[in-house]
Symmetry: C2
Subunit: 280 residues, 2 copies
């Protein structure tokens, strides 16, 4: 089996992909759209990309890329704990500079704020790159934020472990087949109203879901480059559940009663609910 994942190699995404598919051939690809298109065209069997990080929010390129496809569907979700550590050279002195990737620095802002309020923060292309840089430069006043493995691999001493607690990333597995119902599923849809800047479009949509007793896990409106919006909605239920089917029919009718526009609601996938936020 051939599995594409968002590269580069030696990242959390590769680790997770290897965990899910221990025996598959893994192919790193950058950017997200290449992974999605490789699944779309059947160049690979499945793809693994990030959907959301607890601290950084949703990866909008993932949702946008899926919306532009015909064949790709979300078939599974998996969470992974991201453990950031602080490391420096064993003989380090007072730390006045901290190197890491921008997203990692943002995730660890509370720790930095409390422990190194005056440190200069320096951007690296990846967290492991930051660790390698400290080792190569020999700077004794500098530290890196990276995984414990990356810090140790660069010969750095671990100064603090898990400095951004409860940091989870949710990944999705992409395939081309409908996932069967399990009785505890979620569905992500992209809704594209034709009406623009009109009070109440979102209220009309959420009214329909409420009337079918469907809990919404996530709602996100997104400009569509044409002065309109997409609404990304993640809801509890499978697209073949009766109340979800009813909602989809009702929303399509509400947005486009004459069926002139084929794309007012697109199902990006139904998949088993992993309750990924529960153990935070």
């Amino acid at each position: 089996m051939r599995i594409a994942y968002l590269g580069p190699e030696k990242t959390f995404t590769e680790t997770l992909t290897r965990q899910i598919f221990p025996d598959a051939e893994l192919v790193p690809m950058i950017p997200i759209r290449r992974v999605v298109m490789a699944v779309e065209r059947g160049n690979v069997d499945l793809g693994v990309i990030p959907l959301e990080n607890i601290y950084n929010g949703h990866v909008i390129h993932t949702l946008d890329s899926l919306t532009r496809c015909e064949n790709v569907r979300i078939v599974q979700e998996r969470k992974m704990k991201v453990v950031h550590c602080l490391g420096a050279l064993p003989n380090h002195g007072k730390i006045t500079r901290i190197h890491s990737k921008d997203q990692a620095l943002e995730q660890c802002d509370q720790y930095i704020f409390e422990n190194f309020p005056d440190a200069e923060l320096v951007l690296a292309s990846s967290t492991s790159e930051a660790a390698a840089y400290i080792a190569q430069s020999g700077y004794l006043d500098s530290a890196a934020i990276a995984s414990e493995a990356a810090l140790k691999q660069s010969g750095l001493e671990i100064m603090a472990v898990d400095i951004c607690p409860n940091n989870f990333t949710r990944f999705i597995v992409l395939g081309r087949n409908l996932t069967p119902k399990t009785g505890d599923d979620k569905t992500i849809v992209a809704i594209h109203p034709i009406k623009r800047d009109q009070p109440g479009v979102l209220a009309d949509i959420t009214d329909i879901f409420r009337s079918q007793h469907i809990n919404l896990e996530y709602v996100h409106s997104r400009p569509d480059r044409d002065n309109g919006y997409y609404f990304y909605v993640e809801l509890d239920g499978h697209e073949n559940d009766e109340n979800v089917r009813n909602s989809i029919v009702a929303i399509r009718y509400s947005l486009d009663a004459r069926h002139k526009h084929p794309d007012t609601l697109k199902v990006l996938g139904s998949f088993p609910n992993s309750h990924w936020k529960d153990e935070n």
Copy 2:
């Protein structure tokens, strides 16, 4: 006047901040939370941070940081066009590798997909770093995506201009005072329902806005780390407009009729509508 902005120096954020405040003292800060806290504590007069990019979506750290503050308010929004170009050494051959920052590679995915479907993509810590790397390495099979200025500064030849069309970033200016009404304003609020995972909470909220004829520009639900949600809503109107005031009162009442929780709705700011998406 002292203005903090999201660093590092020599980025689009610095350019924009200099345009708005040509005579001010500018102080770069990383990460976003430092800018917000500098305004919160009065260490600077104002702050400038990104809120949204048309391709990458919202900067969730901006909204999360504002929600955690007492004094900071959004007082202005400004858009800036981001023009990405492709550059390589003047005597370059066939391009097989493209270097840039991850967000820039994602933004330019359509161009790369059409023009360099097989190129290896390599991450850099910033777009200007990518340009400098190509120049230093002397690689003739590699190109960088960066601003025209950064490519030229590194002595690279411009191969293509504006390869990610209509790429705008919306920045916000942070202050500590209420912005007066202009008659064409927007307001961003953070809503924190006490009820959790209950069908209809969002529908109740959007119903209230619809009943007051308020157009919602943006809605985003966000996990709150306690199994609940924040809803970030951007709406047309000023917080002192009667219909916005009515909505706020009604939402607070609907979420917490006995006023036991002070933080069910927080206004992050009202500011003049720049109609930033109109000229896309």
